[in-house]
């Protein structure tokens, strides 16, 4: 297959990575995509580093067999723990979630007080804090992190506009507000769905969507390597996506539509182990 027409491969521990895929489709609408959700083993957050590395290797091998031209690690846990593992395995470009978002946060922040929210696992890993401090090469930056464990189930239940979501968000964000953060990294693939609420509760704070910045990085990288699909004349409404999952949950279609913004085709069930 001509390099240009090869698909972009996106993998995640589950369906959350579809919010990342959404950003890729927004900025790279003419590309072909392969999405792999390891839904049988989600969430990766509670596994040991060794296990996450093994899972990530299996996902990488699967995408490489599909002859992708770029691998997007949409999973925050894999991006924190096993990005090097994926990079070493693949002889093609690999984009993770942490660094694009950390760079964007540093550039967006004026007062250098940056908040990070994520799952308990991501926050405990300090991955964003480490990336932010390393990239900034300065002690002047202040990073305030907060685990928001109930955001994922709220998003999955579709209750992002519920008053309960507002009450919980108010509590989770209280400390970050006291520290007067002006920038907030959404360190979990589910959180962009809470953006309207977060925007309302944190007026004037820049929200950093990792998927968005990863996607723009991909535009640059593929354009420089002349590997983008040739822009088509017709305006396709629905892009070319092949979905692979390791388990089809009863809520897959509903969740996928909410994360992507449009109805999805049947996923293909695969085994990775």
């Amino acid at each position: 297959m001509a390099e240009n027409n090869k698909p972009i491969g996106v993998f995640d521990s589950g369906i959350g990575g579809l919010s990342v895929l959404k950003q890729f489709i927004r900025f790279l609408p003419y590309e072909n995509y392969i999405y792999l959700g390891d839904t049988a083993r989600v969430p990766y957050g509670n596994r040991s580093d060794e296990t996450v590395m093994r899972y990530a290797t299996e996902c990488t091998d699967f995408l490489l067999k599909q002859e992708v031209k770029l691998i997007v690690v949409a999973c925050n846990t894999v991006s924190s723990v096993a990005l090097d593992t994926v990079r070493k395995r693949a002889n093609i470009p690999v984009i993770g979630m942490i660094n694009p978002a950390a760079g964007a946060a540093i550039r967006a922040s004026v007062n250098k007080k940056i908040g990070v929210i994520g799952t308990r696992a991501t926050i405990s890993s300090n991955a964003y804090e480490i990336a932010l401090t390393e990239l900034c090469q300065s002690n002047e930056i202040k990073v305030y992190s907060k685990a928001c464990p109930l955001f994922v189930p709220l998003v999955e239940e579709g209750m992002v506009y519920h008053n309960a979501a507002r009450l919980l968000a108010d509590e989770y964000l209280e400390e970050l507000k006291l520290h007067e953060i002006d920038t907030l990294v959404l360190g979990c693939t589910h959180y962009p769905l809470l953006s309207p609420l977060l925007t309302e509760l944190l007026p004037g704070v820049s929200l950093i969507d990792s998927g968005e910045h990863a996607a723009v990085n991909a535009v640059r990288l593929l354009a420089e390597d002349k590997k983008l699909v040739k822009e088509r004349d017709e305006y396709i409404i629905k892009p070319e996506i092949k979905f692979f999952v390791t388990d089809v949950s009863p809520t897959f279609y509903d969740l996928a539509q909410r994360f992507l913004g449009f109805p999805v085709d049947s996923p293909k069930l695969v085994t990775l182990e």
Copy 2:
């Protein structure tokens, strides 16, 4: 000067184009920028096409003298009326506001009901409606347009969170809501500052920020031509921007900071005629 290090030139009839510059800085933080605001002759919306073309030519010539590598027409009026004039004048790439946003709207919309809001001049010009219909090459798309004349002064007065803004927005958007649009083009440089309110009033509706899509188009275009500034290691907090205006209003600094998100240096006063 090496082609890569030449600045990107952005011009607008006034300071509204700074919301476009903001998006460029977000996705192309390492570039050098020249911003030209023709503040002495703002707004262009009420002028004849001939006059707008003449003003646009003058702005273009000014930027060409500054040896820019790309011209961004941040002004919706110039983008509707005089983009070809600018393109013919410049032997470098030119990016306008209409087509990137129209393309993004078509791709974002599922139900093919797209709203467009703008100044009275932009809405009367039908520029977005024409672009949307042409790009879509289909009669299935429905475009609903609404002029929102009070949004610009509200934004300029910094009253985007005021209850009056909410009341007015409610009224302006009523018809679009009845038509069940799922996508809304913000057809004016000032409107992205109203995004939090619009997001709240139109839950589930995709807001299309012209500046954002113009910026991603620029990433692609410059990357393919190998004309991007080489990515720097250090994370600059404040990018390199030279501001030129034809009139310094008393509110310039305050407005510019609100549009860009950070304090700006003194603009240089220039004459275009």
